[in-house]
Structure formats: C-alpha cells, structure tokens
Symmetry: C2
Subunit: 190 residues, 2 copies
DNA sequence: AGCATTTTTTGATATATGTCAAAAAAATAT
DNA sequence: ATATTTTTTTGACATATATCAAAAAATGCT
C-alpha cells in the first residue's frame, strides 16, 4: 500500500534517504465506509489523505442544497485544501462515495517533514503546482460551455467520474440540473 | 520597486541571507505598453513577472472568440502557469490592459534558486498554495450561480476588476454575455 | 430475494440568458 | 478639439436550462 504512494510520489520526485523513510513512519492506514465523512464543515482539517482505493465527493451547502464541487479517486491526495493549509475551520464536506482505504498524514507531521527535508518541501510545491493546473482546466470547463459541451468534455477528460459517480452528483459538479444532464445524455446516445 | 516585491513575499515568508539577495540579483525591470502581450499562444513562457503597476487580462481563443479567464493586478505574480511550470508551449494570451511595470525572473534562475535555497522552495510552495485557494473560490463562483449572483459576488470579492477592467471583458470572465452583464448592472443600480 | 430508498427519466411549463442589430456613450488617437 | 474606434446599452426574439411533479429504473440493505 505504501508502494502505491511511493509510485505516485515518484512521478513528481524520487525521495531518498531519511526523507523517503517518512513514508513508512508517518503515514498510517484508515478505512472510511461508504457515505462516511472525511471532512465536515466547521472542523479544522488535521490530516491529508492519500486515496489508495475508493472515491470521494467534495461538496458545500448553499441554500440547503448540496453543491458538489470536486471528486477524488485513487492515487490523489484528498483533503480540504483551505482548511488543511491554513488550519482554519472547514467550509466543505468530503464524503466517501465508495468505501475508501487511505493513507493519512497529520498536518503537524507534514510541517515537520517540510522543515526537515528539502525534498518534501519540493514535493509539496510540485503537488500544488499540479493541483493548480488541474483547477485551471476546471475553470475553463465551467466558463462559457453549454451543458452538452461540459458533459462531452468531462466524458473525454474524466470518464471515471461518469462511470463511478451517481449522475445527480455529476450534474451538480457540472453546474447543471440533473434533468438537463439526463436529457443531454439521451441526445448523445442516439 | 524591489521593496514592493519584498513586502509581498514577506507576507509568505521572510527571506534571509543569500536567499534574500536573489531578489536584487535575479529580478529585473520591464515595461509593457498598454495592449502589448506578456505571453502569446504557442511560445514557451520563460519568465514569471511580478506586477508592480498595471493590470493584465488572461484569455484563450475558442471558435474565434476570446474568452477571458483571469485578471492580474499589482502585487501578484503573472505568468502562464502551465507553460511556465512545465516549459511547454503556451495555450493562452496575457495582455496588458493598462501599461505595466513588472519585475521579471527567468525560469532557469528560479529553478536554480529552488535548488540552492530551501527558503525559495518553501516560498514557491506557499505561493502555489495561495493560488490554489483562489482558484477554488473561482470554481465555486462559476458553478451554480446566476449571472446576477456572479456579478454581485465579484463586486464584493474583487471590486477592482469592475473598476478597472472594460465590462465586456468582465462579462467573459464571469461566463455571461456582455448584454446580460449590462442588464444585471442596470437592475442593481436601482 | 424482497423491500425500501435513491437515482434517473420524462413531460409540461417558466425563466434566464444568448444572439443579433442598432443606437448611444465613452475612450483613444491624431 | 475632432474624428475614429471601442465599449455599453437597449430592444426584439430565440433558445437553453431550471423547476416541479410523477413515473420508472436502479441500487442498497437485511
């Protein structure tokens, strides 16, 4: 399981020596049952999770409705970014859509790793750069695209979202109603 | 001018010793006239600019239309993130809306600063974390908000965009037509 | 397997927003 | 200051999408 994390991190940077040992000593396994929460509004997020298996939905409440704004899958870090990085109360919820196996790391441990190892500091930068690029893509996808275009784009760029996530959550993520998504899909199937 | 950059960076981390000296030795001043381009599609972005004065618009072309997806103002780093961080051809344009004075830094110099100074590596991480948080806000603003809500939200969170940027560019940024923005504004003025 | 719950689809209707065109206003350059 | 260009506003109309309601289908649970 740690090997899966190592393989992911190797994509950014090969950790060596003591910096590499931190993976063994500081990450620990957790299990989240389907529908359970990895983060809830109001609590300060103390851990970042690396998703080994399963997928999650990120959402916030707006006028009593849940708006899904992100999904995470295997081999990604999953945490409430703002709450974790600034250690302020969380403004969103993270919920397991499938049962999740994660490797978790405490905020204070990560801070110590950043202090102690230049390699981890760099890893942190590279992971954040990668995240930023993906967020830029998401902005482009939300801006100036019709419902059908958004769906087609998602189908091409993130097919697993459509395969594994209930469509009413996908529609919220795309910023369209569930009914519209259903109609868009029926048009495309023809 | 360098003091303005130093003050900005101090907000993230106080640079000391040789790491601080890099500000004097590696950043250099440039001037971009109104309407000139800081980045164009197809070219690899070799510099990151710290905006001392002026503002810029980021846009990409889609079906012969320009879609504005970001604005930058004084005291922010301005560059094509994907092109600069991955050193691949740029997919967007960055254009000076007002005449811009910038402090520029070459990619290769930044990479050396990252290698040489742990402090710069950390600064890079913190700047990227900050950027990521702002992008998250932008996604929330684009998703599931009506034209009027988007405008009101922008008015509250980024009034200078409305004050200094032509409205037809603002409307593109909000993902709505210029006509709709004009109507939304007239409703609100009452 | 069968029951309860959730999700998806379909139809009818209301509404928000886009598009096109033209006038008005504002900004820019000479 | 004037002419030119750009930006904003306004009106008419078309269209995409939301909403509400109900049926159908799928899924999860014991």
């Amino acid at each position: 399981m740690k090997d899966q994390l190592r393989a992911y991190l190797d994509g950014f940077l090969k950790l060596e020596g003591e910096a590499a040992d931190e993976i063994d000593s500081k990450f620990y396994t957790k299990q989240y049952p389907r529908s359970s929460f990895l983060a809830v509004e109001g609590e300060i997020t103390k851990e970042v999770h690396f998703l080994i298996k399963g997928c999650c939905r990120f959402f916030h409440k707006k006028n009593n409705r849940a708006i899904t704004h992100w999904f995470s899958f295997e081999n990604t870090f999953t945490t409430s970014l703002r709450s974790f990085t600034t250690q302020t109360p969380c403004e969103e919820y993270i919920q397991a859509i499938e049962e999740c196996t994660v490797l978790s790391l405490k905020h204070q441990d990560l801070m110590r790793m950043y202090d102690k190892h230049k390699q981890w500091e760099r890893l942190g930068r590279l992971v954040m750069e990668d995240f930023s690029r993906r967020m830029l893509d998401r902005v482009t996808a939300l801006q100036n695209l019709t419902a059908k275009q958004r769906y087609i784009m998602l189908l091409q760029s993130e097919p697993r979202i459509i395969q594994r996530i209930p469509l009413n959550l996908v529609s919220s993520y795309l910023g369209i109603s569930g009914e519209t998504l259903s109609r868009v899909r029926s048009e495309i199937r023809i």
